[in-house]
């Protein structure tokens, strides 16, 4: 007997297209996908989707939950609620906490806290080097055993190439995925904006987007040298795309991500020093934004992340240079992505490949698919509902969103994890 039957849904298949039909869920997994008039299985509960979109839940690589260390900014409870409300069914969390998640004990604490408090799946990443200092690799083997799904020092580049090469080789021997932050640390030191007329007018310390390409070039060479499995966390500059394309054509085990903010905002949005728009790497020019969106559509960039980074009011209410970087985005990821759909830059199946299927594949997960046997991690949403974003409505403890007051389209109606409803819009 089927547990739930979603009827009259627009089924969004990341590997296919959008078709109207029904979807059955049994024991937390998808048990039927029906796109014609064939008879429906008998079900305990029937949900009439009212011709709204039903898609695999979002798999978000690079979420910062501030446990341990800064629970006042974000806890697994608050991040979990935000994720559920945003249609994110799997959070892949970052290790750039304080202290860093760089040993099995801290990782076990994180996994336990996530299980207790978060209504969605949480898969933690661990640091690549101890204390994210770039000097000694972490216990990659033990951390893998304890449940780490990938290794990264987040926005700190491992500058010592020897250390990085050894960590990549060692990770490769264990089949572990390493996330790099492609950025030349010398050029980008102290930068708060992307170099150009706007940064110069505002008098902000700036970095050329070339720093990203230089970082990527180095990392690609290291991957060629070590054969490691590598994912570039954020590609945000058009200049970084040709080397990425060549590396992929050469058959290296490389994937690339980008952030939703770099896809939907540009450098001018900073306007009069609005610190909620200060992110890392800094927002780019409009030409870069378009080029990156096109690269997502073509599949060159594989993954879109929220790069959810909670910061409290105190760390943002400072002069731009001194203010902390980062923005919360778990709840705004889907409506922001709808901007790309409505602007005809990226179609819905491609968006869901980038936000759900590709991250799942890269991490070896079986979610992100609309097929029988896949976990029933689902999001029911309407891509057209207009609304004005009010940051007071966010579930995150920190509400540093650049979309406050913005007109957006697209609302999550209900979110399911393993067939269980974890969020329902009132």
């Amino acid at each position: 007997m089927t547990d739930i039957l979603f009827e009259h849904a627009k089924l969004l298949d990341p590997e296919g297209s959008v078709t109207t039909g029904a979807l059955g869920v049994t024991d937390g997994r998808i048990s039927a996908v029906i796109t014609d008039d064939s008879p429906r299985p008998e079900a305990t509960e029937v949900i009439d989707c009212n011709r709204k979109h039903l898609a695999p839940g979002i798999v978000d690589i690079g979420v910062k939950v501030c446990e341990p260390g800064e629970r006042h900014k974000e806890s697994f409870g608050s991040a979990g609620l935000a994720a559920a409300a945003g249609g994110v069914t799997t959070m892949v969390t970052r290790p750039d906490t304080d202290p860093a998640i760089d040993n099995p004990e801290t990782l076990e604490f994180v996994i336990r806290r996530a299980r207790e408090a978060a209504p969605v799946n949480v898969l933690p990443m661990a640091a690549l080097t101890k204390g994210r200092q770039g000097r000694e690799m972490t216990e990659i083997g033990f951390l893998l055993d304890a449940g780490a799904v990938a290794f990264t020092d987040c926005d700190r580049v491992v500058t010592d190439s020897k250390v990085f090469a050894r960590a990549l080789s060692y990770a490769r021997s264990l089949g572990a995925l390493v996330l790099g932050h492609p950025q030349d640390p010398g050029l980008s030191a102290g930068a708060a904006a992307t170099s150009g007329k706007f940064a110069s007018l505002r008098g902000l310390p700036a970095v050329s987007p070339m720093a990203e390409r230089m970082g990527l070039d180095r990392d690609i060479a290291m991957v060629e040298m070590t054969g490691a499995r590598y994912h570039a966390d954020q590609i945000t500059a058009a200049r970084a795309l040709p080397p990425l394309e060549r590396a992929k054509a050469n058959g290296f085990d490389i994937t690339a991500g980008t952030s939703i903010h770099h896809l939907t905002l540009n450098a001018l949005d900073v306007a009069d020093y609005r610190t909620f728009f200060k992110i890392k790497p800094p927002l780019r020019d409009e030409e870069d934004r378009i080029a990156i969106a096109e690269a997502v559509q073509s599949g060159l960039i594989d993954i879109i992340s929220s790069m959810h980074t909670p910061q409290d009011e105190e760390s943002k209410r400072l002069p731009f240079e001194a203010a902390a970087s980062g923005a919360v985005a778990l709840e705004t990821l889907l409506p922001a992505a709808m901007r790309l759909f409505h602007a005809n830059l990226i179609d819905l199946p491609t968006l869901w490949r980038a936000m759900s299927l590709n991250p799942a594949k890269r991490l070896g997960l079986d979610c992100g698919r609309m097929c029988v046997g896949a976990p029933a991690d689902l999001v029911l949403f309407d891509p057209h509902t207009p609304f004005v974003m009010d940051r007071a409505t966010l579930h995150s403890k920190s509400r540093n969103t650049p979309f406050d007051g913005a007109r957006m389209q697209g609302k999550v109606l209900q979110t399911f994890v393993a067939g269980r409803s974890v969020y329902k819009k009132d």
């Binding site: 150009g196 007329k197 110069s200 007018l201 008098g203 020093y273 002069p319 001194a322």
Partner: protein, 314 residues
């Protein structure tokens, strides 16, 4: 009166006629400052607080004198010494000061945009006395007044700004102001001291002094901002002086009546030859200091009038 702003945060938001209004009023104060009785009560009863988060002798003294000559109660706060070191945020400091009911707040801060941020949190008029590398509006206005008095006009002049453009808020404010008044602007300096995207500013760029200074009416030298540099922008001060320091020989490429300006404090023998700086036939550096007081009197007078209008309406 065509000057409608609540604050003076930068030149960027001023219209040309507002600049002219301010300069015209400043002319009146030049006359007042040269008279034996240098007092007027335009700011009588008002409280002016000078908050300097960065060292300053000249600008702070100029603002203090301007306020006192117009009858304001002036208080100076050296901010590095007090709350900053105790970890108080800029906003907290602003709120604390705001509770003391100041009318004019003069602020200098090492971070670009800090004065804008502060202005959003207080209900008095705020004057930017320099924020990071962003703007230094009263310096550009006093430079404009100096040029207008020396050249008889503030338009269709060829003006060279030389040296450390990248780290200079004075350069930014001057480029904006002189551009608004329809002058031809040349920037001269090594590429390492040019800000990014500078070619989109509507200026001509040179890395050779002789070429850049050819036939200009005004030569503005900038101070090499050693304190804002994290190393390696120029090979050495002596090479810099050789290539970009202003001396009589390089100045000979400019028009014979070209004036020499410098916002001070000068590094003699680094960006400018000491003898040339003191040459009263070419250098207007002392006049710039004099104009500074008058321009700041005018700016505070105009803002105080607007403040009175706003408060009267409330």
């Amino acid at each position: 009166m065509t000057f409608t702003h609540r604050h003076l945060l930068g030149i960027e938001h001023l219209r040309p006629e507002e600049i002219v209004t301010l300069l015209d009023l400043a002319e009146e104060y030049v006359a007042l400052n040269r008279a034996p009785d240098k007092h007027k009560d335009a700011l009588a009863g008002l409280t002016q607080i000078n908050m300097f988060f960065e060292n300053s002798t000249r600008t702070q003294a100029s603002f203090e004198l301007a306020g006192k000559r117009l009858g304001a109660d002036v208080m100076n706060m050296a901010m590095q010494a007090s709350s900053i070191s105790k970890g108080e945020t800029l906003i907290d400091t602003a709120m604390t000061l705001n509770a003391m009911h100041p009318d004019l707040l003069v602020v200098r801060h090492p971070h670009s945009g800090a004065v804008d941020l502060l202005a959003q949190k207080v209900n008095c008029a705020v004057l930017n006395a320099g924020d990071g590398r962003h703007e230094h509006p009263t310096q550009a206005l006093l430079d404009a007044l100096t040029i207008r008095r020396a050249k008889g006009r503030l338009h269709r002049l060829s003006i060279a700004i030389c040296g450390d453009i990248a780290h200079s808020r004075v350069a930014r404010s001057n480029i904006i102001l002189l551009g608004k008044m329809e002058n031809r602007i040349r920037l001269i300096g090594p590429p390492t001291l040019m800000p990014s995207g500078i070619s989109e500013f509507g200026v001509e760029i040179y890395d050779d002094m002789a070429e850049g200074l050819k036939d200009v009416d005004v030569v503005m030298m900038l101070r090499l901002q050693k304190e804002r540099m994290d190393g390696g922008f120029i090979p050495s001060e002596r090479e810099y002086y050789h290539r970009f320091g202003l001396d009589a020989d390089k100045l000979s490429h400019a028009k014979p009546d070209a004036i020499v300006m410098h916002p001070g404090p000068m590094n003699r023998g680094v960006e400018i030859d000491g003898t040339l700086a003191d040459d009263i036939n070419r250098s207007v550096i002392q006049e710039q200091v004099e104009m500074g007081v008058a321009v700041r009197m005018a700016a505070m007078d105009l803002l105080a009038r607007n403040l009175a209008a706003v408060r009267g309406a409330a």
